[in-house]
């Protein structure tokens, strides 16, 4: 446990010093600050635009941070040969992998928290109120990024960072499509298409589960039992992250470094 913590805290320390991540974060915070200026795009829907853009920025920057950070964690250690120093100590490979993942997760959490606070501040200054349902989105976005980071971590054990970047974002796109795609294709008469849609729906990570911004942006309906839903999606994130990390450990354990 000590080894995992040590690797995680080192990863966090390295990540916050990485200029590329700081630039992405600054971009996100900057976009959030200018959000009220977009109100003129839709004079009667200022709140809608503010919420849509704000939550969209948190999600987009969160995804960018998750992928850019995680794709390079393992390859960088191998390239710099620092992995030999670490693995020569009493550190198991799975501990190394888990430490790296938790470190990247802590970085994503920190950056998303910073953006969320900025957004809440901007919203409050713009609207002089702070609806409680605003807080429903970012925590679930974080869970989404946790799965995305796990996807990137899984691929980073056997592909190069560039390929990993496109693979991870590809999976993220398809995973965001999962629910509507499944809904549309599951009613088709073609059995092969139906089977394919079902397979994608249950095999690939379903990122759409965490896209809960619609009722926040367009309030109007009462949502019952969000606690049960939230518990389900938390468990889903934990299980799916578990699957990806287990696979990553299996592959990384067999890999010659």
């Amino acid at each position: 446990m000590g080894a995992i913590y040590a690797i995680a805290s080192t990863t966090l320390g390295e990540a916050v010093r990485r200029k590329v991540l700081l630039v992405i974060l600054l971009l996100g915070v900057g976009l959030l600050i200018i959000t009220p200026g977009l109100n003129q795009l839709s004079p009667r829907q200022e709140t809608t635009v503010l919420l849509s853009f704000g939550l969209g920025v948190i999600q987009m920057i969160g995804a960018l941070v998750a992928v850019v950070l995680t794709i390079s964690l393992i390859p960088q250690e191998i390239e710099r040969r620092t992995i030999y120093t670490i693995l020569s100590k009493p550190v198991q490979r799975h501990q190394f992998l888990l430490g790296k993942f938790l470190g990247s997760l802590a970085t994503i959490l920190m950056m998303m928290a910073l953006m969320t606070v900025t957004f809440l501040l901007v919203y409050y200054l713009s609207k002089h109120s702070l609806p409680i349902n605003l807080l429903a989105g970012p925590p679930l976005f974080f869970l989404q990024m946790m799965i995305l980071a796990a996807v990137a971590m899984f691929f980073s054990t056997f592909v190069s960072p560039l390929v990993n970047f496109f693979l991870s974002f590809g999976i993220y796109m398809v995973g965001n499509l999962a629910n509507p795609l499944f809904e549309s294709l599951s009613t088709t008469e073609n059995q092969l298409t139906r089977f394919g849609a079902t397979l994608i729906h249950y095999v690939l990570p379903n990122f759409a589960n965490y896209n809960v911004q619609n009722p926040i942006i367009n309030p109007g309906s009462m949502i019952a039992n969000t606690q049960v839903y939230n518990l389900q999606v938390i468990l889903y994130a934990v299980f799916y992250t578990g699957i990806l990390l287990t696979l990553a450990v299996v592959i990384f354990d067999r890999r010659e470094v």
């Binding site: 829907q45 987009m60 619609n214 367009n218 699957i243 067999r254």
Partner: protein
């Protein structure tokens, strides 16, 4: 490999668990979190624009600003695709539904350069889609009702829409009284009066709560004036007497016979290919009546009531011709030249035969004419073209249909170089009066007075 044997059961367990969870998550997500469903079969904004999932509303705003620029440039054709895209991206943009429908229902059908009534169908469809996607506000029901009331003169449909609108709490008081007018136009006189009484009570209550408020006083006074006017008019027309069953002898009410003969007649002359000169008579003096003329494919009708329920599509049936215009009746005569030759996209003339339908209903007429002829045209008659609709036997209206062929209207085939005239039997043209010019007095430094002709 031996070391990793633990992984298989762990993976199977985790995988099974997440799949079971997903089956639990699906219905809840679909019910509460899925983006609003659009009434476009097989097309969802989330499917097409997944990459923009977080910014749909913002992108919609940017596109709408662009559409506004096109509007100010007069480039109306460029607006419709943007309206479609914006409403797909953000189905909550009420202004886009309203303005888009207004473009199609008014700008595309009323301008001198364009009078394409086929656009009424997509205009209504867009409003319907807006209503379905925004069920928490009165606004789109109101707009749907207004288009039917004012533009299409479908008063039954207008009543239905305004009744829906009035049930929403966000409807301003000043917009509520349109329902009374729609009731009245639809022949629901007692409903109109009852609703005006209801509105009067509502306005009076506000005035009682805010005694010094000028706008509350104006609101109350306006409703009171409308109510008085309705009561006086209906009393003068004998409505209340009929209700009581003591409708008096001739002369006591404005609408009692003797019947006025409308003597409707019309003549169409094709002056050039695609250009027609319409002259006709309608025995209504002096002014205020407009005769509707529709030139359409014999086999085509707008069927607005059925088609408005279909998904919105800005695409028009390209092979259909549907022209509609109003002919201003002055001193019992109307005349107008209608040019359909300049825009073959709007008037393709693909069909072989066309109906030219003239119609006039007392319900479209101003109140001054209704005072004379009655709400239902009780005091009007026409020897040839009086029509009593099957779905409203109380109404007496003018309806006349003439037929013209493609060759005639385009002066082709055997009609090349021939004068084409289609007219009602026994048509007698009323002589057009020469225009009168005002005599301008001579003033120093200007030419002499204009000559009176």
């Amino acid at each position: 490999m031996k070391r990793m044997k633990w992984a298989i059961p762990v993976l199977l367990l985790l995988f099974g668990s997440q799949a079971v969870l997903q089956t639990k998550i699906d219905p809840f997500w679909k019910k509460y979190y899925a983006p609003p469903k659009l009434s476009v079969p097989g097309l969802g904004a989330e499917q097409v624009l997944v990459a923009l999932s977080g910014f749909r509303e913002v992108l919609a705003g940017i596109m709408w600003v662009r559409a506004d620029e096109f509007f100010h440039q007069g480039n109306y054709d460029a607006i419709l695709p943007l309206v479609r895209l914006v409403t797909l991206l953000d189905s909550k943009q009420i202004d886009v539904y309203v303005t888009g429908a207004w473009h199609m229902g008014y700008n595309f059908t009323d301008e001198d350069q364009r009078s394409d009534r086929r656009y009424l169908v997509p205009a209504l469809q867009l409003l319907r889609e807006g209503v379905n996607n925004n069920q928490n506000t009165y606004e789109l029901w109101f707009e749907l009702g207004w288009m039917k009331y004012h533009k299409i003169m479908d008063y039954k449909g207008a009543v239905e829409a305004f009744e829906k609108a009035k049930n929403f709490e966000d409807i301003p008081l000043a917009r509520r009284d349109i329902l009374a007018h729609a009731y009245y136009k639809n022949g629901q006189i007692s409903d109109a009066l009852n609703y005006l009484y209801e509105l009067l009570d509502m306005n009076q209550k506000i005035l009682d709560d805010y005694p010094g408020n000028e706008s509350a006083r104006i609101g109350r006074d306006t409703v009171e004036k409308n109510l008085d006017q309705h009561i006086i008019r209906m009393a003068a027309r004998g409505y209340f007497a009929k209700q009581r069953g003591d409708y008096g002898p001739a002369g006591h009410y404005t609408t009692l016979p003797p019947l006025e003969q409308m003597d409707f007649g019309a003549r169409i002359t094709v002056t050039e290919p695609g250009v027609i000169r319409v002259v006709g008579t309608l025995g209504l003096a002096p002014i205020g009546a407009r005769v509707r003329i529709v030139l359409k494919d014999q086999s085509y009708d707008l069927h607005l009531a059925e088609n408005e329920k279909l998904p919105f599509s800005p695409e028009l049936p390209k092979d259909v011709t549907y022209m509609q215009d109003d002919l201003y009746n002055k001193k019992k005569r109307f005349a107008r030249t209608i040019n359909m030759s300049k825009d073959p996209a709007m008037y393709p003339f693909d069909a072989e035969k066309y109906d030219i339908v003239f119609s006039w209903s007392p319900r479209w007429a101003p109140a001054s004419i209704q005072d004379r002829l009655g709400w239902n045209g009780e005091a009007m008659d026409d020897k040839r073209y009086l029509n009593i609709p099957k779905d409203d036997p109380s109404l007496r209206q003018i309806l006349c249909t003439l037929t013209i062929t493609k060759d005639q209207i385009l002066q082709r085939g055997e009609w090349r170089d021939k004068k084409v005239v289609v007219e009602t039997p026994g048509f007698v043209e009323v002589q057009e009066e020469a225009p009168k010019y005002r005599v301008v007095p001579n003033t120093p430094g200007t030419p002499g007075p204009a000559k009176s002709t």
